[in-house]
């Protein structure tokens, strides 16, 4: 690598970039302190405002300042409204709220498409009220950058003063320390939380208005995982509590990022190296901060990342079980026959859905059972696909699947090692970092030289832009037709489901859940805690790994973008709307999010249903996910069948039904020691 140079102009440019990260981070922290929510929509709220500002300024000819005030007010209102919508989720599992904010940001994105908000011409210079410029060396700083340099610090200082000196600020600080006590001592928790979201909305608008002039359009990709990751990194360095630290960290991140890009200029490996260094910095920051953050009073947060959805067990009568089994049988039959009916394109889609189903199942194991939130599942999928691209033609498919699975399981365990120290939000962010690192560093670099021993290792995709692999055959069966591959994918999915069912019912799941629910008690009972946590990563990585092989062969031609972290987030959404720890839930989620848009095309209605709005509706009104719906449907069918039988026998309907053990509440004052205790048999 070249010598490191630190030109002042680059440092300043990075700092200006960093001011935006800092503002974003401050917004994230503000919301997290009051409602313990990582708001993935924090950037998108501002984008709506920025787009609206363009509309007002150009289309309606408003004065800049009037337009600014209106759009900031709009963002504040959107912030407040978001809080009102999401409020009922604040006590739910954190991962659910996180996905809800992702849904929110997608809804907000649709907002920017509304004719009322969208300007007629989008790609226009973003308005800037000043025309000042200055030079550092030969580098010219634009008016937009000057504006950022002036406004961002002023806004943050004003915000800090508000929090320091106003009674709202005091209430927010109290809530950050201990929401329960704050509430008991008279802080109006809900209203304070609304105020925080309103402020964060306004702040987001300021961020977008400042960031937009340097972009080509107002539709800044604020949700793009890497940008959000940098802001989250800054917020995490501030411990998700400290506004000043988060802000300064944002500036620091900007400077470091810009300096890295300046110093590492090699066009082929440059971006990969930058990503690698960022990932290492991220992990370092997380590991360093995690130790100090997870002590003391904030320990409670850990548990709030646990799931909170009771597992669905078929506890019903024999008839209920028969209904369930018949349902599975009929579905399998129909799906198995599908490739005969549907065309080539839809057969390809069927393979895709099956593969996404497997990936979703891998997340059910890791997140649903073990409680480890991974935003980087596609990082593991990428490992499997990478292996397929290298040795896919060399070994038979039946061997390749488990081999790739085991290799990915090993990688997964390595990532899991960080989870022993960091968890919850911190783990989520580090897995997101891992997925980005896989995509932009490992896969994007076909070959690299090991520094000390000077040997070349070719670990990336042979051609990062477009790698081509041909489908192998399975026991002599040709898989090259889409129909054949659809059957193959379905077969792999069925085997996966059977495997996960064994894990669920025969002793693996209960260990994972026990360690998730009560690590100390599990340890004291003799369950090896560390090994169990890593086991979750290994099992999940194993599945994601062979799913990656399938995905590679399904697409045949793929690039690094095939493994974008956006898909990781999509898979998390699948599992959440499906039902966090349910096997059919994961599959339903895959069908819903992957299947609906593709089958019905991207008509506005489908887009609305499958994107944010549908996601939000599911999370808000169906906490058990689609699995809950399925379960209720099964109950309904069972009741119907019973009714029919009863009528045939002449028994009035309803009499034959046993009282279902629906009410799990303990029936009160029964002596727990019971009579049985005294007749306790020798074990």
């Amino acid at each position: 690598m070249l010598g490191v140079s630190l030109p002042p102009s680059v440092v300043l440019e990075g700092a200006i970039l960093g001011l935006d990260y800092g503002l974003l981070a401050v917004g994230l922290v503000l919301i997290y302190r009051t409602s313990r929510v990582v708001n993935f929509a924090q950037g998108q709220i501002g984008v709506v405002a920025a787009v609206f500002l363009v509309k007002l300024y150009y289309d309606f000819g408003f004065n800049y300042w009037v337009a600014l005030v209106i759009s900031v007010a709009l963002a504040a209102a959107v912030g407040a409204l978001s809080e009102l919508v999401l409020r009922r989720l604040f006590n739910r599992p954190r991962v659910m709220v996180m996905v809800a904010t992702i849904g929110l940001s997608q809804v907000l994105f649709l907002f920017t498409v509304f004719p009322f908000i969208r300007p007629k011409k989008l790609y226009r210079a973003f308005p800037v009220p000043i025309s000042w410029t200055f030079h550092v060396g030969t580098f010219l700083f634009s008016p937009g950058e000057v504006l950022t340099l002036i406004v961002a610090p002023v806004v943050v200082i004003a915000l800090a003063a508000f929090i320091r000196f106003s009674s709202w600020g005091l209430a927010m600080r109290a809530m950050a320390e201990n929401a329960e006590s704050a509430r008991l001592s008279g802080v109006w928790v809900r209203r304070t939380s609304t105020v925080a979201w309103t402020l964060a909305g306004a702040l987001s608008a300021v961020t977008a208005v400042l960031a937009s002039p340097s972009q080509t359009s107002a539709l800044t990709e604020v949700l793009s995982p890497d940008l959000l990751l940098l802001a989250l990194l800054a917020a995490l360095i501030g411990g998700m509590v400290s506004l000043p630290v988060a802000f300064m960290a944002g500036i620091g991140v900007g400077v470091v990022f810009d300096l890295l890009q300046w110093n590492i200029t090699n066009p082929s490996t440059g971006p990969a190296t930058v990503e690698l260094i960022l990932f290492v910095l991220l992990l370092g920051a997380l590991l360093l901060r995690a130790a100090s953050l997870q002590k003391g009073t904030r320990v409670g947060e850990r548990s709030s990342w646990a799931m909170g959805t009771a597992a669905f067990r078929t506890t019903g009568t024999a008839l209920r079980k028969t209904v369930g089994r018949s349902g599975v049988g009929i579905t399998l039959l129909v799906v198995g026959l599908l490739p005969f009916v549907i065309g080539v394109g839809h057969s390809f889609l069927m393979s895709q859905i099956c593969i996404f189903g497997i990936i979703a199942l891998s997340l059910t194991v890791l997140t649903g059972w073990s409680g480890q939130v991974s935003l980087g599942q596609f990082g593991f999928v990428a490992v499997g696909a990478d292996i397929a691209s290298h040795v896919g033609s060399g070994i038979p498919l039946v061997l390749l699947l488990p081999v790739a699975g085991i290799a990915t399981a090993l990688v997964s365990v390595l990532v899991g090692l960080t989870a022993l120290r960091i968890r919850g939000l911190y783990l989520a962010v580090s897995t997101l970092g891992f997925a980005l690192f896989m995509q932009e560093s490992v896969l994007a670099t076909p070959c690299w030289t090991v520094p000390l021993i000077h040997r070349q290792i070719c670990s990336g995709l042979p051609n990062p832009e477009s790698t081509l692999i041909s489908r192998p055959s399975l026991f002599g069966l040709n898989l090259s037709s889409e129909q054949a591959f659809a059957w193959f994918s379905l077969g792999v999915l069925v085997v996966s489901v059977l495997m996960v069912r064994v894990w669920r019912d025969r002793g693996i799941a209960r260990r994972l859940i026990a360690v998730r629910d009560n690590e100390i008690a599990a340890g004291a009972a003799g369950i090896p805690v560390v090994r169990t946590k890593l086991l979750a990563f290994a099992l999940s990585g194993f599945m994601a790994g062979y799913a990656g092989v399938c995905l590679a062969f399904a697409t045949e031609r793929f690039s690094t973008d095939t493994f974008s972290p956006t898909f990781s987030i999509l898979v998390v959404s699948m599992v959440v709307i499906g039902g966090l720890d349910s096997i059919p839930g994961a599959l339903l989620g895959a069908v819903y999010l992957e299947g609906l848009p593709a089958i019905f095309g991207s008509t506005p209605t489908v887009e609305f249903l499958t994107s944010g709005a549908g996601l939000l509706a599911f999370i808000l009104y169906l906490p058990g996910g689609m699995a809950q719906l399925l379960h209720q449907f099964g109950d309904l069918v069972t009741a119907g069948v019973e009714n029919l039988r009863g009528r045939r026998r002449g028994v009035p309907p309803g009499d034959s039904t046993e009282a279902p053990s629906e009410n799990p509440a303990d029936p009160g004052r029964r002596s727990p020691a019971g009579a049985g205790a005294l007749t306790m048999a020798d074990p």
Binding site: T309, R313, V502, A524, P664, G676, A677
Partner: protein, 320 residues
């Protein structure tokens, strides 16, 4: 990783098989500090094999920390812990559990989302682990192990009268029922040394009374040594063969209930100047008046009523 524990493990793990029966615990000059605070400050104590030892003391006197140190959840700054004469310092909690040391927790939270059945199966898992690979492939010994585990828990579920709660999530049970589940898992674990942290915390007085015969029976059935932390003084005096009083991390008095009752240091440290504290109310009053007491040290039957008074008097009084 997936196949890290291959092979059948139908028998007991190696070190468990080496010793059975009640274990003896020696605590020598144990010191545990949190930052500058010495929660346990040079406590020494011998728990004889087969005895029931009650640990009492004000809040913050280091009782729970002592239990935590014994079960390995906190590591002592100095001092030694000996189980049957063998030093425990190299053992992590899981390994101590394998040695037959079983711990119950004050909050008795168990595993909120596991059903009662799974909670008990988990104890069997710890005793007889089956490899992941053999579970996944459902190899014959994995199936057999699962069947045998199920048989074992069926017996315990039956004898504790937990049948109707079998499939309920632990989070949905009352505290009392959770305590019973906890005791059931203790029986399954077949402990040699049982550490109980306030087994009657959070349950009603009447239910707490029912715990005395239950704990005695548990002691007999499992053939174990019991070290018990409890605020319910009458319960401790009724149940334990030895009572140990702790104050600010040190053992200030130890002996049979009668000795401790007369020990001025114990009185000053915890029991209060007069022995009224002993008789505030208590589980002994209505139920055990008719029953012969184990060590002949029955408390004076107090005026009935004021249920729940003893534990709140015990803890509240010393809580500064």
């Amino acid at each position: 990783m997936t196949g890290a524990r291959p092979g059948p493990v139908t028998g007991a793990p190696e070190h468990e098989a080496t010793a059975t029966g009640a274990a003896r615990l020696d605590i020598e000059e144990l010191v545990v500090s949190f930052g500058g605070l010495r929660a346990v400050n040079g406590a020494s104590l011998t728990v004889e094999a087969g005895s029931i030892v009650g640990l009492i003391g004000a809040n913050g006197s280091g009782k729970t920390t002592l239990l935590d140190a014994v079960s390995g959840l906190v590591s002592p700054a100095s001092g030694r812990l000996l189980l049957d004469g063998a030093d425990l310092s190299d053992y992590i909690p899981e390994e101590r559990a394998r040695l037959g040391m079983v711990r119950s927790f004050q909050d008795c939270r168990l595993y909120p989302e596991l059903s009662v059945e799974d909670t008990l199966m988990l104890c069997e898992d710890a005793r007889r682990p089956v490899g992941v690979l053999s579970t996944t492939l459902q190899l014959p010994w994995a199936r057999r192990a699962e069947r045998e585990k199920r048989k074992a828990i069926d017996r315990v579920i039956g004898s504790f009268g937990l049948e109707r709660f079998r499939l309920h999530a632990t989070a949905h049970l009352s505290t009392g029922t959770r305590r019973v589940v906890d005791l059931a898992s203790i029986v399954l674990a077949n402990p040699r040394l049982l550490l109980l942290d306030e087994p009657t915390a959070g349950i009603a007085q009447r239910e707490a009374e029912a715990f005395i015969p239950l704990l005695k029976r548990l002691h007999e059935v499992t053939d174990s040594t019991i070290l018990l932390v409890e605020h319910d003084v009458p319960l401790v005096f009724e149940l334990c063969s030895t009572v140990v009083v702790m104050q600010t991390g040190e053992v200030v008095a130890a002996g049979t209930p009668d000795e401790v009752r007369r020990d001025p240091r114990a009185l000053a440290a915890y029991l209060g100047a007069s022995d009224e504290a002993l008789n505030v109310s208590g589980p002994l009053a209505p139920s055990s008046a008719a029953k012969p007491s184990a060590d002949g040290s029955s408390a004076k039957p107090a005026a009935d009523g004021s249920a729940g008074g003893s534990s709140s008097a015990g803890s509240g009084g010393e809580d500064r």
